[in-house]
């Protein structure tokens, strides 16, 4: 069914969602800085920024998440599990790359051998409304990383910004539940034409190719390559690229509190931090930035595909845009390839 939502109805539509669901959507924290957040009032939602700084993974895998609380009652320790919210949730305005990334994280968190209840509970309760990318940035390379600017997979509903309205597609059973939504009108045939035009224009923008295909095999042979001696040099070891990455999913577990009461919390962690691999003995198997940078790239492009048959990169470009020293992951990918195009320069660093 082809529908549309007039932008003048957007706030009312959002309010109607909020009456029934917990709504998560991009919110601007400062000029040009946005994150996904639980919405308190419809006016907060801002769908104009292509990328939020922090990706949508946060809605399912928060940066810090309490796993349980503990309390000493008499001489006994009592553990109290965390109640997930009862309400169903909606994730609105996530871009196709972020949505693809959620399915990547899901491969880890909802596996054959174990299931992460914290992730799964949130995932089950969430309806995803994706938003197509009319104007991908020059740093976007989703089309080389298994996605595209209008990829519907993973979305229950899908919006395309037509200017005055959003074109609305209902894609799954969860999405079909909205077919009688009072704010959705039937779309005109010319809206369909416009969607096609927008798609074509966006596809053209990401029409180039970064050689992600076959990278797993190439890296198999590069464990001790001199590549790693150079590629890490500029890295200063902050965590931006991993925290802003929609697919990075490492965490650390901490107990916070005192013997009387406290909580166990998991926080995002980053393989680029030296603490990440520091062992109790004081030995650190990844003692320098070289090993850490290798880990980051190997995990994304070698270990992960070995385990889950897909690279752990969706080509969103955040790590390129926000790196303080301008590390470019596209360049790293190209450098593993025998067909290095000249466009990025001939030398590695």
């Amino acid at each position: 069914m082809k529908l549309k939502l007039e932008k003048k109805d957007l706030e009312n539509f959002l309010q109607s969602l909020m009456d029934e669901y917990d709504l998560y959507a991009p919110v601007q924290l400062a000029e040009g800085v946005s994150v996904f957040k639980k919405i308190d009032r419809p006016g907060e939602v801002n769908l104009t920024q292509l990328h939020t700084q922090k990706p949508a993974k946060e809605v399912f895998f928060p940066q810090s998440e309490r796993m349980f609380r503990y309390e000493k009652v008499g001489t006994q320790n009592q553990m109290v599990s965390v109640e997930e919210g009862k309400r169903e949730r909606i994730l609105l305005g996530a871009r196709p790359c972020d949505i693809e990334a959620i399915s990547i994280i899901e491969k880890v968190f909802v596996g054959k051998e174990y299931t992460d209840v914290y992730f799964l509970e949130k995932r089950k309760k969430t309806t995803i409304i994706g938003l197509g990318c009319n104007s991908p940035l020059s740093t976007c390379f989703c089309s080389s990383a298994g996605g595209d600017p209008f990829l519907r997979a993973g979305s229950d509903l899908f919006f395309v910004d037509l200017g005055e309205a959003y074109f609305v597609e209902l894609l799954t059973e969860k999405g079909m539940a909205f077919h009688k939504n009072q704010f959705f009108k039937e779309a005109d045939p010319k809206d369909l034409v416009l969607v096609k035009e927008l798609e074509d224009r966006a596809f053209e923008k990401v029409g180039f190719s970064i050689p992600v295909d076959g990278i797993e095999k190439r890296l198999d042979l590069m464990g001790e390559s001199s590549f790693w001696d150079r590629i890490h040099e500029k890295c200063m070891g902050c965590r931006i690229c991993t925290y802003l990455c929609p697919t990075c999913h490492c965490f650390d577990i901490m107990d916070e509190g005192d013997p009387q009461r406290g909580q166990r919390v998991r926080h995002w962690d980053s393989c680029l931090s030296s603490l990440y691999s520091l062992e109790t003995s004081g030995h650190n198997p990844r003692s320098t930035c070289r090993e850490r940078t290798r880990q980051r790239l190997m995990h994304k492009f070698n270990y992960f595909p070995k385990n889950f048959h897909r690279v752990a990169c969706v080509g969103c470009g955040r790590c390129i845009l926000y790196c303080p020293v301008h590390f470019d992951i596209r360049q790293a990918i190209i450098w593993t390839s025998p067909k290095r195009p000249k466009t990025f320069g001939e030398r590695m660093t």
């Binding site: 400062a30 150079r230 040099e233 931006i240 916070e256 303080p324 301008h326 030398r347 660093t349």
Partner: protein, 314 residues
């Protein structure tokens, strides 16, 4: 031309094997940006560039490359960080060769991006203009309208202590009132100050980029990562975020060159330099000391005298 001279000096240093590598700036994939370059052969020096986008403080790499003899391209602020690190005995004098460039003040890429609609795909600098080009537009922008706040106030653009100076010393004068961010902050009531600080810190995602890019943050174990004692929890609770930002700033007292690298690195665009600016002002007013200007004067918090006035004890 500055770029050409940097290359000549770099080539000579590498040919004579006076240094193991040159760390300078090079072009990379994005417009309005440069990237730190590590050049080891005389043939590689042609990739070194100089323009108004050389925003990184390369002094930070002294720690990472401390087993090498390094030729380092430095602006005024970077050179001051080097001097401060020298006073903290972070390297031996013959380990570094400073190629000092009197700085034209660097351009704030975010400000430029916000001045135009649409993505900037190309940027070219010409005299006092930056020509930015994107899909369907090409606009000349006045360079001086887009300078980093830390660069607008800079009065030490000519590197001190450089082994060689590329170009003539520049006139040292602030384009605006000195330390406007700190002055503006001082004018606020304590409640307003707290609210401002609270709002800015609340965006922090604990990526520690502000710490990693700072040449003066080089502790093997930072207080935020110490597990015994644990000074701070790892989550985004306001008190932890505020604690981190306060302590990070305080540890810079008498050590910060005001280069602004912390603020430039922050992906959440948290304002940070008003705090360090304020500390710099206090240190100047109380001790008449400025970081990294004189290699013979120890920073006030690294030294004491028996007849210290101790006016702070009431």
């Amino acid at each position: 031309m500055i770029e050409q001279k940097i290359r000549e000096i770099a080539k000579e240093l590498l040919s004579k094997k006076a240094v193991d590598l040159i760390i300078g700036f090079g072009e990379w994939t994005l417009p309005l940006r440069t990237t730190p370059l590590f050049i080891r052969t005389p043939e590689g020096v042609d990739r070194l560039i100089w323009n108004s986008f050389c925003e990184n403080n390369l002094a930070t790499y002294i720690h990472k490359f401390n087993r090498f003899k390094v030729g380092l391209v430095v602006k005024g602020c970077d050179a001051r960080s080097v001097t401060a690190l020298f006073l903290e005995k972070r390297f031996k004098p013959d380990q570094l060769f400073l190629i000092g460039v009197p700085c034209q003040r660097m351009v704030d890429r975010r400000k430029v991006k916000r001045a135009v609609k649409g993505e900037i795909l190309q940027a070219r600098e010409e005299a006092n203009l930056i020509h930015v080009k994107g899909d369907g537009f090409e606009v000349p922008l006045k360079r001086d309208d887009f300078l980093y706040p830390s660069c607008q106030v800079c009065v030490h653009r000519t590197p001190t202590q450089a082994n060689v100076l590329v170009g003539d010393p520049v006139e040292e004068l602030s384009l605006v009132e000195t330390h406007p961010d700190a002055r503006e902050f001082e004018k606020k009531s304590p409640e307003e100050r707290w609210r401002f600080f609270e709002k800015e810190s609340s965006r922090c995602i604990r990526c520690y980029a502000c710490r990693e890019v700072c040449p003066m943050c080089y502790c093997t174990e930072c207080f935020v990562e110490s597990s015994n004692p644990r000074w701070i929890d790892h989550g985004p609770s306001p008190s932890d975020l505020e604690f981190y930002h306060m302590v990070r700033a305080y540890h810079q007292t008498g050590r910060c060159s005001g280069c602004g690298a912390c603020e430039r690195a922050c992906p959440m665009e948290i304002r940070l330099t008003y705090l360090t600016q304020k500390l710099n002002l206090d240190v100047k007013e109380l001790f008449n000391f400025e970081t990294g200007i004189d290699a013979d004067v120890l920073p006030p918090l690294s030294t004491f005298e028996m007849d210290d006035k101790q006016e702070f004890i009431k």
